[in-house]
């Protein structure tokens, strides 16, 4: 069953036309890689799905689990089951590790006009113990301010925070290995594999093609705001896509 579907999405930053008719579909349980160079429109795609502004989606539709979420505000998209681990981690650096994790739990019906509850068809919500099992380093540093963590630990916390969202059905990871040392990249990748093995649907945005293809079932390649290639991992590996990618 299709969980997320983008159909001919055009998105703009002010007058700049960034996404020029992007279409893609993700089935439940899949791990999809969205590849492309810097400035290809990967982050703009994530932001368009999440409803964060800018960019402004001026035409095309985004459907999630059967609902047209194109114009939904960000908090409603999240409540419906879309979790974003944004580029640059975006931790609350003045808050402790524990407080960062608590932030995913405090949205409630009193604050939000929830259009619909997520169906919960993805993986069940992760408890704090499971998360600490996945990222043991975070438990050691639970009462430390998140701004004092190392780059790798910050990335783990950013992922853990989004995994703590209730009713998460789709995880969007925007360049989770960016700026990390090679051994840390390994450990973050392994965590992502464990997460996807539990049945969560994942959209992984990467410049690092080798890491991305190790984890993914299928991949899309974005260049200058247009989808230039789509295929299974085997097909992507055999295709000569160097002109669109940093290999």
């Amino acid at each position: 069953m299709t969980l997320l579907e983008l159909d001919d999405v055009h998105a703009y930053y002010g007058a700049s036309h960034i996404l020029r008719g992007v279409s893609m579909a993700i089935d439940e349980g899949e791990v999809i890689s969205l590849l492309g160079r810097n400035g290809a429109g990967k982050t703009t795609t994530v932001r368009s799905i999440a409803g964060t502004e800018p960019p402004e989606v001026r035409s095309g539709t985004i459907h999630f689990d059967g609902d047209d979420i194109t114009d939904w505000p960000t908090d409603d998209v999240t409540q419906a089951g879309v979790g974003v681990v944004p580029e640059g981690r975006r931790l609350f650096t003045d808050l402790t590790v524990e407080e960062n994790l608590k932030m995913s739990k405090i949205a409630s019906a009193q604050w939000n006009t929830i259009r619909r509850r997520a169906t919960g068809s993805g993986s069940p919500t992760m408890g704090i113990d499971e998360l600490y099992e996945l990222f043991p380093r975070l438990e050691e540093r639970r009462s430390q301010k998140s701004g004092t963590l190392s780059g790798g630990e910050q990335q783990m916390l950013s992922i853990a925070r989004t995994l703590r969202l209730p009713d998460l059905d789709l995880l969007l990871l925007d360049e989770p290995t960016e700026g990390l040392a090679p051994q840390i990249i390994q450990s973050v990748s392994e965590s992502i594999r464990e997460i996807s093995d539990q049945g969560l649907t994942v959209l992984l945005i990467e410049q690092n093609v080798r890491e991305a293809l190790k984890l993914a079932d299928r991949g899309y390649v974005l260049d200058q705001g247009e989808m230039v290639y789509e295929g299974t991992v085997e097909e992507l590996e055999n295709e000569d896509l160097d002109e669109y990618l940093v290999v």
Partner: protein, 310 residues
């Protein structure tokens, strides 16, 4: 009068001045820090608090339009304690209205636009109050439990009301701190101060916690209106003459920092009280001089939060 007695008296004069500044500056600081909104109309809330307190607690022979239409003396005459309880609630509601109708449309505008519009609103309130209530000043008639001296053994007499003002400010500071530290709303506000969009990516409609903290800041300013009005007298210019030092305190302490605002208010209170003793006409100006010194040493404030102006 012994040296100890005059020192302790000075201490409580300084602390009570600092308390009034603090209660006004807290709301200004939080809203500036979390919503990136500089709200000079916050001074109007202080002004409104002072007049609401008078009307709730007493019957006052106002001038202006009220006198002309034969409504004076006006007031519910419920007493001073009732004024202390009811006024913050009334101004809390006023704060909600101000956030929805004044602040919200201005959130995405540049600081200068916010400054000009909200300053204009403050002036409109000031002149409106002059028109409605008359240009004369008014005083709080404090009951016995809130006036006169307290005799402290080995020290001497200290103004009872100034002690209460300081205690009230401490209690409300503690309440705000606990709200920030231990409630979900407080957590959301702290997180939202750092990264609003990220809170939305975690499913939180951050406008609600921000509205609540705005209204709490308003209630504090309303309470300060009564405390300040009872110490320094009530007139329509009091909002104006309080909000500028409050803004200076916020900037001096570090925008959005409760700790910084508290330290800034204490510094301002002591400098103000000290200069009042030796050169009263320069008392207000001394706060700006203090700010120049502090900001020369620490350009981003005493506890920099490092987000405003980026």
């Amino acid at each position: 009068m012994s040296l100890v007695e005059s020192s302790v008296q000075f201490l409580f004069v300084a602390l009570s001045v600092a308390s009034v500044y603090l209660l006004v500056a807290l709301g200004l600081s939080i809203v500036f820090g979390s919503l990136q909104f500089v709200n000079m109309a916050h001074g109007a809330l202080y002004l409104i608090g002072a007049y609401v307190g008078l009307i709730v607690g007493f019957q006052v022979g106002f001038g202006g339009l009220i006198d002309r239409y034969g409504l004076a003396p006006l007031g519910l005459d419920l007493g001073f304690l009732a004024a202390l309880v009811v006024t913050p609630i009334v101004v809390f509601v006023g704060g909600i209205a101000m956030e929805r109708f004044l602040a919200k449309p201005l959130y995405d505008r540049p600081l200068l636009d916010q400054l000009l519009v909200t300053f204009g609103i403050l002036l409109i309130f000031q002149e409106g109050f002059n028109l409605v209530f008359g240009r004369t000043g008014f005083n709080y008639a404090r009951p016995d439990w809130a006036s006169g001296p307290i005799l402290i053994p080995a020290v001497g007499s200290v103004s009872r009301w100034r002690i209460y003002v300081v205690v009230l400010a401490l209690v409300f500071l503690a309440i705000l701190f606990a709200f920030y530290k231990y409630t979900d709303y407080g957590l959301a506000v702290r997180a939202g101060t750092e990264d609003t969009e990220m809170t939305e990516l975690l499913g939180i409609r951050i406008g609600r916690p921000f509205l609540l903290i705005f209204a709490i800041g308003a209630a504090y300013a309303g309470l300060a209106g009564i405390l300040g009005g009872s110490l320094f007298g009530v007139n329509a210019g009091m909002g104006f003459s309080n909000i500028i030092p409050a803004l200076v305190i916020v900037i001096m302490g570090g925008v959005g920092s409760i700790k910084g605002t508290t330290v800034g208010a204490l510094l301002a209170g002591f400098v103000f009280a000290a200069v009042t003793q030796v050169w009263p006409s320069m008392a207000t100006a001394s706060i700006y001089a203090l700010a120049i010194v502090v900001l020369t040493i620490r350009p981003s404030g005493i506890y920099p939060t490092g987000r405003v102006g980026q």
